[in-house]
Each structure stands twice: as structure tokens, then as C-alpha cells.
């Protein structure tokens, strides 16, 4: 196959439900490869629930939950994303060329979410195994109760990073406004530098930053079990 082969779906003339129904009809063995979605105009739930190894480019800003529940697909948003982009993603690659609003990658189980700009509050909240790379900064309460996966931030993190964190791994290159309950800075050993290098390679960012410039944050694991000293707190 040569040349550009993609199907265009223009949301100024087609209903969003038509787009999502067409994407849901795709199966793993499909020959259809690439889709270009025009005029998203901030609509919610664009390209949600896709389960096929296709490429989808959304030409513009989107509203809530774009690329939510994604499996396998490589989804590029040529603009900003509203709340909950790639929420509960299972696999695949979601690439936001602009900024993302709050709860980016919330509870995502797998795959990669790459945000070129900033992400708002609660980025990676309840993260369950996906990788999130934010090339800008992230807002407050990010990685709240994050259980597994990695959150990598080139810029700064807002207040209460990693509050009530489980086993997700957090790497921040810039300043952290404050750490949440039970989140602590941990030493950046060689294995962590190597892990970070792998994740940056997965995101296609080899050579853009030095993994050694990042600091690592994780759970102090003090909230895992009930401590009798806290009895009066309940």
C-alpha cells in the first residue's frame, strides 16, 4: 500500500454516534487503517471505546472523555482535550498535541498517554497500570490513589502529588508544590533511570530529556494497614 490512505469523517455533517459506531465495528484483523476526524468542535466522547489497531487523528479540540476505554488504537488529538482524556484506557497510544484538562488518564490500565502540553488537576488519578508522559506540568492531586503504572512529568507538579498512593511510580523533573499523604521522595537508582529510559523510548522521546534529571516519588506504604494510633481519627 502506498500513499496516504485514510478515511475522513467530518463531524460537521456526520453524527458523533455514527463515528463511534463505525469505529466500534472495526475488528483486530481489519484492513482499514487510518481515520481522520474533522470538526470535533469540543464534542464529548469522541473515539471512545475503540478496540482495533487503527490510527485515528482528531483534527481539533475535544471535550470530555476523548479516547476513553481505548484498546489498541493510536489516537492523536490535534488540539486540547477536555476532562478525562483516555480515561480507563486498556492499551494503545493516545497523543494530545495541546493541553489536557483534569483527570487525564484516570484509572487507565494500560497503554501510553502522551501529552505535549500541560495536564490539569488529578492527572493519572487512580492509575492502574498505564504510562502517562506529560511534557509540560500537571495540576494538583495528580496520581491520587494511583495503584500501578508510571506518571512522568517534564515540568512541575501541583499540590498533593501522589496522595494515598499505592504502587504507581512517579517521576518529576521540575518542582513539586507539595506531596500528598503517604507519598515520599525515593532515591533514583540505576534501575529507575533504566525504567524511565524505557518508558521515554515507548513514548518516542529518546534523547529529548536525560532520565537522570528526574526525581522519583512513591508510596511510603504507611497507609496500607490500620495503625492503632489512628483509632481516634475515625
Amino acid at each position: 500500500m502506498s500513499g496516504e490512505v485514510f478515511e475522513t469523517i467530518d463531524l460537521s455533517s456526520r453524527a458523533l454516534r455514527d463515528l463511534n459506531a463505525a469505529l466500534h465495528a472495526l475488528r483486530s484483523g481489519t484492513n482499514r487503517r487510518d481515520f481522520r476526524v474533522l470538526n470535533p468542535r469540543g464534542q464529548h466522547a469522541v473515539a471512545v471505546g475503540v478496540d482495533a489497531p487503527v490510527g485515528i487523528t482528531v483534527a481539533g479540540h475535544v471535550g470530555y472523555y476523548c479516547a476513553g476505554h481505548n484498546k489498541q488504537a493510536r489516537i492523536t488529538i490535534e488540539g486540547n482535550a477536555g476532562p478525562g482524556v483516555a480515561e480507563n484506557m486498556m492499551s494503545g497510544f493516545v497523543h494530545v498535541l495541546g493541553d489536557a484538562s483534569q483527570s487525564a488518564g484516570a484509572s487507565a490500565h494500560g497503554g501510553m498517554l502522551l501529552i505535549e502540553g500541560n495536564a490539569g488537576a488529578r492527572c493519572g488519578i487512580s492509575l492502574k497500570g498505564a504510562d502517562i508522559v506529560v511534557k509540560g506540568s500537571i495540576g494538583h492531586m495528580s496520581a491520587f490513589m494511583a495503584q500501578a503504572g508510571t506518571l512522568i512529568v517534564f515540568g512541575d507538579a501541583g499540590d498533593a502529588l501522589g496522595d494515598s498512593l499505592y504502587e504507581a511510580r512517579l517521576f518529576v523533573r521540575g518542582k513539586v508544590a507539595s506531596l500528598g499523604a503517604d507519598c515520599i521522595e525515593k532515591p533514583m537508582r540505576d534501575e529507575h533511570v533504566a525504567l524511565l529510559g524505557e518508558k521515554l523510548a515507548l513514548a518516542g522521546l529518546v534523547g529529548q530529556v536525560d532520565p537522570k534529571e528526574f526525581r522519583r516519588y512513591g508510596s511510603a506504604r504507611k497507609l496500607y494497614n490500620f495503625h492503632p494510633d489512628n483509632a481516634l481519627a475515625y
Binding site: 468542535r41 469540543g42 464534542q43 481539533g60 479540540h61 475535544v62 471535550g63 470530555y64 488540539g79 486540547n80 477536555g82 476532562p83 495541546g98 493541553d99 484538562s101 483534569q102 490539569g120 488537576a121 495540576g139 494538583h140
Partner: protein, 298 residues
């Protein structure tokens, strides 16, 4: 839920289209707030004149009020009804005689006043409310609007936004305040009057109080961060300014767009998509607990 919008024009050539843009923005956000809607539009002031926006449940009240105003024999006092609202324009110095006439018409309520602001709000679908009051045809320098999904008090006109508690000042709010009763008691002691038991009116009154003490809009918003507790995204209008403030937790959504020609606010980006040149605008999410405000160039 609720939806809020705001549009502050930098480019004068857009002024005739202000109402058209605001009406479309409100219409898009109908699904965030289908119960009632309201908006305030600021026009260039007519020197020496003040505008009162009035509301009456029975439109015949304006007929009687109009006759009573005519009897004053002052041809610079005029009344322009628009559905359930009317704008009374009067020259400086005639306030006392106009107030006497209004006092004799208790079925007519003052909902806003100032040199530039007109304020309309009513129950019903936002796009219908906008049409009913001719918003698409209104010109102006800036405006704010609200679509309400009532959660904590009844669907009434009085509960609709914007709330105006001072001349040329008004506020729309998405969220809910938790310490509004205490703040209201403090403001009442300071001499403020409240028309409703609504939390958002308290926020408006708080900013009015601060500005009456000499604070700028930016300083008043900064102080609000310390004193108001709860969830809020506010969009505020003054005679020459436009401000935005989100609480530190920032649960309530907010998107802004800025170009050389305007600054626009919407609860969602969808509200902004028909603005001119939006494709090339700087589109951003206002940060929590950070005061944003713009003042008209002198």
C-alpha cells in the same frame, strides 16, 4: 451542573455582534443548564444617563409604570420593555423622582442598575430566553451569561443568574458555596441587602462590598479566595472589566480563549467554537485559585 459564559471584546468592530455570540454560547450550554438562563450585557455609556433593569411578572405593570413616568414630564426618562423585563433610562438628577414612581409600583422590581449594564434572566431553555430578550441583536463591549440546572433551590426567575449587587456589577457562578450564610450575615451587618437566600448572590455581594471599600476587581477576587469556601467558578462583569476565578479544588470546568480581538470564557470549549478566529486562539484552562481579569483600555 450549570454552564457559564463570558465575552470581553478588545476589538470595537466586534461590538455589534456581541449579543449574537453570547446567544450562541448560551444555546450550546443549554444541556448543562436547561432550567433557566440569564445574561448581562454592557454597552458604551451614554454620558449623564443611568439605566435600571426592571422585572415584572405581569407585563401590564410596565404599561402602568410607563404612564406614571410620562406624567413626570421629563422626556429624557424612557422605558423600553422587553418581555418580562424593561430598561428604564434616566438622566442624572432625576433619581429621586423616578424612585418615587417606582415605589408606587411594587409589582416592578429593580434587578440591575448602572451606566452600562442591562441584565435579563428568566426560567426556560437558554436559547429561548436569549431570543425572548432579543440578545442576538444586542451590541456591547462585554457580557456574561449563565444556564442553570437547579440542584439546591427552586427553578425560579429570582434564583437565575446573573446576580447584581452593585452598579454595573454582576456575577455568574457554577458551584456551591458552603459558608454563604456566615458571609451574608457579615455583609448584612455592613449594610448590604440581599434579594434571595441564594449562595451566588452572596458571592456577588461580597465582591461589591470589597470594591466599595476601594478594591479593584482583581483585588476583590483575590480576597474572595481567602474568604469564600466551597466550589466555585465565577465570571464577573464590571463597568469596564471582566474577571474569572476558580476555587483551589477546581472541580467546576472552565475553558478560556484569548485572541487580539477578545477574551472568552466557557464552561466547555463547545461554547466557544463559533467565535471568530477560534482556530488560532490561545485556548487554555484557567488555573485553580488564580485571579484573571481584564480591564478596558482607557
Amino acid at each position: 451542573m450549570c454552564g457559564i459564559v463570558g465575552l470581553f471584546l478588545k476589538d470595537r468592530s466586534l461590538q455589534p455582534a456581541l449579543g449574537g455570540h453570547l446567544a450562541r454560547m448560551l444555546g450550546v450550554l443549554s444541556d448543562r443548564g436547561p432550567d433557566s438562563a440569564g445574561f448581562a450585557v454592557y454597552a458604551a455609556p451614554q454620558p449623564g444617563m443611568t439605566k435600571l433593569t426592571l422585572r415584572a411578572t405581569d407585563r401590564r405593570a410596565f404599561f402602568h409604570l410607563g404612564n406614571a413616568l410620562d406624567a413626570l414630564g421629563n422626556d429624557r426618562v424612557s422605558l423600553h420593555p422587553r418581555a418580562t423585563h424593561a430598561v428604564l433610562t434616566m438622566p442624572d438628577g432625576s433619581e429621586a423622582e423616578v424612585q418615587d414612581v417606582l415605589a408606587a409600583h411594587p409589582d416592578v422590581e429593580i434587578v440591575g442598575q448602572g451606566a452600562r449594564m442591562e441584565l435579563y434572566k428568566e426560567v426556560g431553555r437558554p436559547e429561548r430566553v436569549a431570543e425572548r430578550f432579543d440578545l442576538p441583536f444586542m451590541a456591547g463591549t462585554h457580557g456574561i451569561g449563565h444556564t442553570r440546572m437547579a440542584t439546591e433551590s427552586a427553578v425560579t426567575t429570582a434564583g437565575a443568574h446573573p446576580f447584581s449587587t452593585g452598579p454595573d456589577q454582576c456575577l455568574v457562578h457554577n458551584g456551591s458555596l458552603s459558608n454563604h450564610n456566615a458571609i451574608r450575615r457579615m455583609l448584612v451587618r455592613e449594610g448590604q441587602h440581599f434579594a434571595t437566600d441564594n449562595d451566588s448572590e452572596v458571592a456577588a455581594g461580597y465582591l461589591t462590598w470589597r470594591m466599595a471599600q476601594g478594591a479593584s476587581l482583581g483585588q476583590a477576587l483575590e480576597a474572595a479566595l481567602a474568604d469564600l469556601d466551597g466550589f466555585f467558578t465565577f465570571v464577573v462583569g464590571t463597568g469596564t472589566g471582566f474577571g474569572v476565578l476558580r476555587d483551589p479544588i477546581a472541580c467546576k470546568p472552565a475553558v478560556m480563549a484569548e485572541t487580539d480581538r477578545y477574551v472568552a470564557f466557557g464552561s466547555e470549549y463547545r461554547a466557544l467554537v463559533d467565535l471568530p478566529g477560534i482556530e488560532d486562539a490561545h485556548v487554555f484552562e484557567p488555573e485553580p485559585a488564580r485571579v484573571y481579569f481584564w480591564e478596558e483600555a482607557a
